[in-house]
């Protein structure tokens, strides 16, 4: 019998909740996680909203000044090498392990691998480089590199959990954690690993978010209730967020042997490049359309069988348009009409976190039998004609769900998830 990757555990540190129950409530009720946010103490900046992560504080680059909710445990030995998003990740992994019925010690040994995605910590990296210049190289934090560069998640978590299986970090911007999840599926399917811990995470800091304003990619809408409105005619950019989401992916046989509850199956994934622009999406979503087609082909499933698409749509004018056209080309043109929504309307755009976070939302949709609505959508862009964008969350139990992600350079990754058979 071939190996079948399934998901047995999820952990959430997000703008819409720091546990499974809170996230489900937010997705069902379409409660967003945005707050007014003054970047760099500069009220003149046009960007005024962020998807804040509640209960955590990182007021300085020193871990001694950091705090997190008391129900999570982050050891001193570990925290000194972490970035803020590493703290998020540890808290998410603790939830995922508990949900999967695993002890941390069970991650040790060669049967479990670890795939991570983050952009590193511009917040810490900037501080350490400033310190190096100010002291003319005579001072530095010995943990500066491992806590701040891209890869900090896999460095820290592999050592902390004593993981001796496959360990890797993925860097494809906003498709990063979708790549991590896709390749984790392959590790299971190829029989290389029996279990994969997959994590997407990002800092929720000015240094991670505000640079996107130079691309004119961030919303200038000051109203948290409407700043992120994917597919709406008046959308004007994305709202940044951070956090961490952890997924436990296992071979179905292992999950059944140990009595773990299977929440969803991962039945296909696909990726394709736009071959078009370093920063802008292909105007007709060519790469995303092909990535969706490949994920369906990987699973041997026709477009008409898909019940729900969790769109990448970030609320930027160009990106949402590209995705709408790609969806029409793959689904509408083939007589298929899945429900479509972008949960970034509620969470904001989590960058490297986004793919894993939204894959986990797809698992919740399957496992909890609902479809998240297209929040904040009042006037659908005419380019979305023919797409089914429900304005409220629906008590429908999707069997097949597609998760879309796109990143800089035209990296497009899609996963197909299925209700357990």
């Amino acid at each position: 019998m071939p190996f079948q990757p399934v998901i047995t555990g999820l952990g959430f540190i997000t703008s819409i909740g720091n546990d499974r129950a809170s996230v489900i409530r937010s997705l069902r009720a379409l409660q967003h996680g945005f707050e007014p946010y003054v970047f760099l103490d500069n009220p003149d900046l046009p960007v005024k909203v962020a998807g804040t992560v509640k209960g955590f504080a990182f007021p300085t680059p020193s871990w001694r000044d950091w705090s997190w909710p008391p129900n999570f445990s982050v050891d001193r030995e570990l925290v000194r090498g972490l970035a803020p998003h590493g703290v998020f990740a540890i808290c998410a992994v603790q939830q995922a392990l508990a949900e999967a019925g695993l002890e941390p010690a069970q991650l040790a040994g060669g049967e479990t691998g670890l795939f991570c995605a983050s952009a590193g910590s511009p917040f810490l990296l900037g501080h350490f480089l400033d310190q190096m210049r100010a002291t003319r190289g005579e001072r530095g934090n010995p943990m500066g590199i491992v806590s701040s560069i891209a890869g900090t998640l896999n460095f820290n978590l592999a050592a902390h959990y004593k993981i001796s299986g496959a360990v890797c970090g993925f860097v494809s911007a906003c498709a990063s954690s979708s790549h991590a999840l896709g390749y984790a599926m392959d590790e299971i399917r190829l029989g290389r690993q029996q279990r994969m811990l997959v994590i997407g995470a990002e800092d929720m800091t000015t240094e991670s978010i505000l640079p996107f304003s130079t691309l004119r990619a961030l919303s200038n809408n000051p109203d948290p209730a409407t700043a992120s409105r994917p597919f709406d005619r008046r959308r004007d950019g994305f709202v940044g967020t951070g956090g961490a989401v952890a997924l436990i992916v296992e071979d179905a046989a292992l999950a059944r042997r140990r009595g773990a509850r299977i929440q969803a199956e991962l039945v296909g994934w696909g990726q394709a490049g736009d071959g078009h622009s370093v920063a802008a999406s292909h105007p007709e979503g060519a790469g995303l359309r092909e990535a969706m087609r490949r994920s369906l082909a990987d699973a041997g499933i026709p477009p008409a069988a898909v019940d729900y698409v969790n769109a990448h749509a970030t609320s930027t004018p160009a990106g949402d348009r590209s995705e709408a056209l790609a969806l029409q080309a793959l689904f509408t043109a083939n007589g298929a009409k899945p429900r479509v929504s972008s949960t970034k309307a509620l969470t904001g755009h989590g960058l490297s976190l986004a793919g894993a976070m939204e894959a986990a939302f797809c698992v919740l949709a399957i496992d909890e039998k609902f479809i998240p609505g297209a929040a904040h959508l009042e006037e659908p862009d005419p380019v979305c004609e023919g797409l089914d964008l429900p304005r409220t969350s629906l008590d429908e139990a999707p069997s097949l769900v597609l998760n879309n992600s796109s990143g800089f350079g035209g990296s497009n990754v899609c996963h197909l998830l299925r209700r357990p058979t």
Partner: protein, 128 residues
């Protein structure tokens, strides 16, 4: 490379950095450091260095370091690793405005070694 006998001082990275650094130490250690800076009494540094160790120790000790025997070893008994020791060295250099060479670090193995070493380095700074 710096020689172990160097007494060249290191400037703090920014004004007021000592006070900022001290805020993580317990009040007793802060008071002891201020006594040292006012009087030059290097024996006042003993509780300061123990507080620095307790601030950087990877795993909190079972009892306060002040209650542990002087021959307690930093690595073998207290669980310090090379990264944590480097953090202690940088912090101590900045706080006392001294320079500690790598070869000096290797000679410090126990709590007594460390107390004696810090007193000698601080004395040299006071005299210079």
């Amino acid at each position: 490379m710096e020689s172990s006998s160097s007494t060249r001082t290191v400037k703090p990275a920014a004004p007021g950095e000592q006070e900022v650094a001290l805020r993580h130490l317990p009040p007793v250690a802060q008071a002891a450091f201020r006594h040292f800076t006012a009087s030059g009494d290097v024996t006042a540094l003993d509780p300061v260095i123990l507080a620095i160790l307790e601030d950087y120790i990877p795993r909190p000790p079972e009892r306060p370091l002040a209650e542990m025997p002087g021959e307690t070893r930093l690595i073998e008994d207290l669980g310090f690793d090379s990264l944590a020791i480097t953090e202690v060295v940088f912090f101590t250099e900045d706080l006392l405005e001294i320079r500690i060479a790598n070869e000096e670090i290797f000679q410090v193995r126990t709590l007594d070694d460390l107390r004696g070493f810090v007193r000698r380095k601080a004395s040299a700074r006071v005299r210079s």
